[in-house]
């Protein structure tokens, strides 16, 4: 079995995994980082979104070995100790989640949207950019509000 090494949430990690292990499996099963979720098997739902080298990526759609040497960030690494990241705080403050299952992927995608579009990103852009994330609970209304608020807070 190949050994894979990468940086996850700022820590160097490595593990011996079958070559066909997906990044999400490596995170959940090998590292025990179960905040990243699997909601489908066709790369449609976005519950598994993490950041790979600073960009949003669906961790169900790449192999762990493809991430050799990469910098991976998951939902568990977003907060600064007890202080929530502005996007996490915005989701909490704006009721941008209900069951919480899509939430880690939503927040990671949202941070990426904010990184790319800045603090004044508008509703239409947010809705369009959420193309790769499905939520079944919220009807997206409060997610969109949360992302706008989170992006604005990140811009400060």
């Amino acid at each position: 079995m190949p050994t894979v090494s990468m940086t996850v949430n700022g820590k160097s990690v490595s593990g011996e995994v079958p070559a066909n292990t997906l990044l999400v499996e490596f995170l959940r099963e090998t590292l025990g980082l179960t905040g990243t979720h699997v909601g489908c098997d066709t790369s449609q739902c976005g519950a598994c979104v993490v950041h790979v080298d600073g960009k949003a990526a669906k961790s169900c759609t790449r192999l762990a070995v493809q991430c050799e040497g990469a910098e991976v960030a998951t939902i568990e690494g977003l907060a600064n100790g007890a202080d929530l990241h502005p996007m996490q705080e915005a989701f909490r403050e704006n009721h941008g989640l209900q069951c919480g299952f899509c939430t880690p992927g939503m927040i990671m995608a949202a941070v990426d949207i904010a990184n790319r579009h800045g603090g004044k990103v508008d509703e239409e852009t947010i809705r369009h950019e959420l193309d790769g994330n499905i939520c079944r609970c919220t009807g997206y209304h409060n997610i969109v509000t949360a992302i706008a608020a989170g992006a604005a807070a990140m811009g400060k």
Binding site: H37, Q44, H95, I143
Partner: protein
């Protein structure tokens, strides 16, 4: 109102763990020495099983065990059950076929469970499942609702001749027929309520574990009602006695009904864990969820509304064929009957209603409750009929509604419901104002100048929630009562645990119930925690569905809080050397009227536990339980207005605006309630515009078996919503709440289709009104106009 009092938009307690990735869903849990299960599913819609050869699978690397239906039958494990017996028109009970957890001699839909393979790793289990050789004799299948009872349709269960599960009726047929004869106008519609796949984002999962030391089983599962699951597994399947089976439903990622039911997989994980004396983990793939999670809706209906020349409604006549799939799921039989036809009066004074429902077996996944469960289907029939009648009579749809609104309460409908309270005109008025109805003409003209077609649709819905009075549902065939339980445990230091039989899988009970309890006890909210979802911790409860947790679950908490306050008052009076009648309890303090003598809630609870100085005959401690059985259903109602803008070139429908004004009675946390409405509307818009489960009519294969084929609404399919509330306090429970979980899903489909048909100036269009369907409708109506 304090920052966390009743009516305050308190931010959710549970969110801290969810936004940081610290939620604990079933698939996040691993048990030492666990094995993994994979199921062999039928690739055929209908087939005889000639033989199953498991030798190669059993010999594959890592395989621990392989089980077939015969193994389960030999162990004396019972089949999956339907807990509600519906009676035919002639009074005989429904015709129900058996549902073995693993098929014995026949498979009846694509996805039917055939064998269970257990291995050391998931990859090994899946690989070995491929090696199970099943020899099938393929039979003809039927998947289309309206064809199930055709003479040449294949027979699916021997017990159900002609694939009829039941033929049921409600109402006074003779009165309805007479009213139709005398009517000035009859509006008729043939409606299909499209089949939906619930698709909570968390796929179902289960971990079965057996402790040989105690003989006890533990099941972690994605359930909306862990106690009911335990009861069914124990009493009907015979897996283990209730006191030897612990069912834990930890964080659950959405349910929408589909996680109420007891399925084959979790049942088999419990049973097989005992057989191999090791834990077994199973997590559904999304593909398997499409095949095997109970689907929703799937009605074919002929509906007629009789009116007089002034637009006064005289009678309604409805004939529905309801598809229940290949097996009767846990509560399936009740959905197209008592949760559907009993709501056909809508918000209207209808002197007589008659509804016949034929429920049928088909070679499709079982159909059961999905958000709204019967009530969206009823609302669709009523509100499509009303809007269509208004157009046919050249009346404003608002005016036709107003002429027929029920205005006096209580109101007994011709379909066994007694509406307790409401103000339908108030929610309509507020919605018209919020939606700026007066200027709709200007908006329509603006759309037209941009080459778009604009339409407006109304849905003045009512639903029956707070499910349900036990004696009433018992008289209608339910196998259980539908009360709820609570226990309020005050600890010596004055903080409180609320144990509820309700289950939260996104609804925010940890916040709402704590908010309610803290307000009643006058203590800070962070002094209250809510415990649910574990049969070893929580007393028996009925779970969460049918918008019942506020009205029924929280009412049980309210009763238990009353008892806590009553006992604490006795203790406080004793300590303060006052008579009980002189004690006032306010803001967390017991005081003697007219004096400055008082004790804080925490001081009284400590005294109750220390028990050095208790009143005569009062037991130590401060912990009270309550069971609350509702006196009636609750009746949330309101008005949703949808405006659409359609591009005639592409057939694309955009929701241009959405106004919802709902009357949910007393609201504890408006932020959470608004979130529930948003989500419900989104699912209703999904039904109307994007979603539909389709089986191939020849092969019975599910054609919409992934998120690539089944169109879930995404952020850019939906608008931001404008919400408002009116309030008539529910008289039948101590809090005055009605329930809010399903309203949006109930109201929305009719509002959307009323708007689309208005925009296109056509009588009807099928759901989902996808761009292709809308474009075709535009082409046919243009062609008709040309001819």
């Amino acid at each position: 109102m304090s920052e966390s009092g009743i009516g305050a938009p308190v931010r959710r307690t549970e969110d801290q763990r969810f936004v940081t990735g610290n939620g604990r869903y079933t698939d996040d849990i691993n048990v030492a020495h666990q094995t993994y299960a994979s199921f062999v599913l039928s690739p055929h819609a209908h087939a005889k099983i000639k033989s199953i050869d498991t030798k190669a699978a059993a010999a594959a690397p890592g395989v621990v065990a392989v089980f077939t239906g015969q193994d389960v039958a030999d162990a004396g494990i019972g089949g999956l059950i339907c807990g509600w017996t519906i009676h035919n028109k002639d009074g005989s009970p429904m015709q129900a076929g058996g549902h073995p957890a693993l098929a014995l001699d026949r498979v009846r839909y694509v996805g039917d469970h055939v064998a269970m393979v257990i291995a050391e790793t998931l990859a090994q289990a899946r690989a070995a499942a491929e090696l199970v050789a099943v020899d099938y004799d393929i039979l003809d299948s039927v998947v289309v609702t309206g064809k199930a009872k055709d003479k040449d349709a294949p027979q699916i269960h021997d017990e159900a001749p002609g694939n009829s599960v039941y033929d049921w009726a409600i109402g006074d047929k003779d009165a309805v027929d007479a009213a139709f004869k005398a009517a000035d106008h009859v509006t008729s519609l043939d409606l299909v309520n499209n089949r939906l796949v619930p698709n909570p984002m968390e796929p179902r999962a289960a971990i079965g574990d057996f402790d040989p030391g105690t003989g006890g089983y533990t099941l972690h599962t994605t359930s909306q009602n862990p106690h009911v699951a335990r009861l069914i597994m124990s009493a009907f399947l015979g897996l283990a006695p209730e006191h030897k089976l612990r069912v834990i439903a930890p964080d659950v990622g959405g349910g929408f009904g589909s996680k109420i039911f007891v399925y084959a997989e979790e049942t088999l994980c419990v049973w097989a864990a005992g057989k191999i004396a090791r834990p077994i983990k199973w997590t559904s793939s999304r593909a398997d969820a499409f095949l095997n999670d109970a689907h929703g809706r799937d009605h074919e209906t002929m509906a007629e509304l009789a009116l007089d020349k002034d637009g006064k409604m005289l009678a309604m006549r409805v004939k529905t064929v309801a598809n229940l799939g290949a097996y009767l799921s846990t509560f399936s039989s009740a959905v197209p009957t008592y949760l559907y036809a009993t709501l056909l009066s809508g918000q209207y004074n209808l002197p007589s209603i008659y509804c016949e429902v034929d429920a049928v077996y088909t070679n499709t996944a079982p159909v059961d409750a999905y958000r709204g469960a019967g009530r969206p289907e009823a609302c669709y029939v009523v509100e499509r009929l009303v809007e269509t009648a208004a157009r046919e009579l050249n009346l404003d749809p608002i005016e036709l509604r107003r002429r027929n609104f029920i205005a006096e309460f209580p109101h007994e409908t011709p379909v066994i419901m007694t509406y307790d309270t409401g103000d339908f005109g108030a929610s309509l008025d507020k919605a018209l104002e919020l939606g700026d109805y007066a200027d709709f003409g200007k908006r329509k003209a603006a759309s037209e100048s941009g080459g778009k077609l604009r339409g407006i649709g109304f849905s003045t819905y009512i639903e029956a929630c707070g499910i349900a009075p036990s004696a009433a549902v018992g008289s209608l065939g339910a196998g259980v009562g539908l009360w709820e339980s609570a226990e309020v445990r005050v600890n010596p230091t004055g903080n409180v645990e609320v144990l509820t039989g309700s289950h939260s899988h996104g609804q925010g009970h940890e916040t709402t119930f704590a908010q309610f309890t803290a307000a009643r006890l006058g203590i800070p909210m962070d002094q209250v925690s809510v415990v649910h979802g574990d049969t070893d911790k929580v007393q028996f409860g009925m779970g969460t569905y049918g918008s019942r947790s506020g009205a029924v679950g929280m009412s049980a908490i309210s009763k238990a809080v009353d008892k806590v306050i009553a006992k604490a008052t006795k203790v406080a009076a004793h300590l303060l050397e006052a008579s009980e009648g002189d004690i006032e309890f306010e803001n967390g303090s017991f005081s003697v009227k007219g004096t400055d003598k008082s004790l804080a809630f925490g001081e009284v609870s400590l005294a109750a536990y220390v028990a050095h100085n208790m009143p005569e005959g009062v037991e130590p401690g401060l912990k009270e339980g309550a069971f609350y059985d509702p006196a009636n259903f609750t009746f949330p109602a309101g008005c949703h207005i949808c405006e659409v803008e359609i591009d005639p070139e592409t057939g694309t429908t955009e929701i241009a605006s959405w106004v919802a004004v709902d009357d949910f009675g007393t609201i504890i946390n408006p932020m959470i309630v608004e979130g529930q409405v948003h989500g419900g509307i989104a699912q209703g818009v999904g039904q109307a515009l994007t979603e539909g489960a389709v089986y191939d009519a020849d092969t019975g294969q599910l054609l919409t078996g992934s998120f690539m084929d089944y169109c879930m609404p995404r952020a850019d399919d939906l608008p931001s919503f404008t919400l408002g509330f009116t309030e008539t306090v529910c008289p039948s429970n101590p809090i005055g709440v009605k329930g809010c979980g399903e309203a949006g899903a109930i109201a929305a489909p009719a509002a959307v289709i009323n708007a689309v048909t208005d925009a296109l100036n056509i009588k009807d269009i099928a759901m989902p009104a996808s761009p292709a369907t809308v474009w075709q409708a535009i082409q046919s109506s243009t062609k008709q106009a040309a001819e």
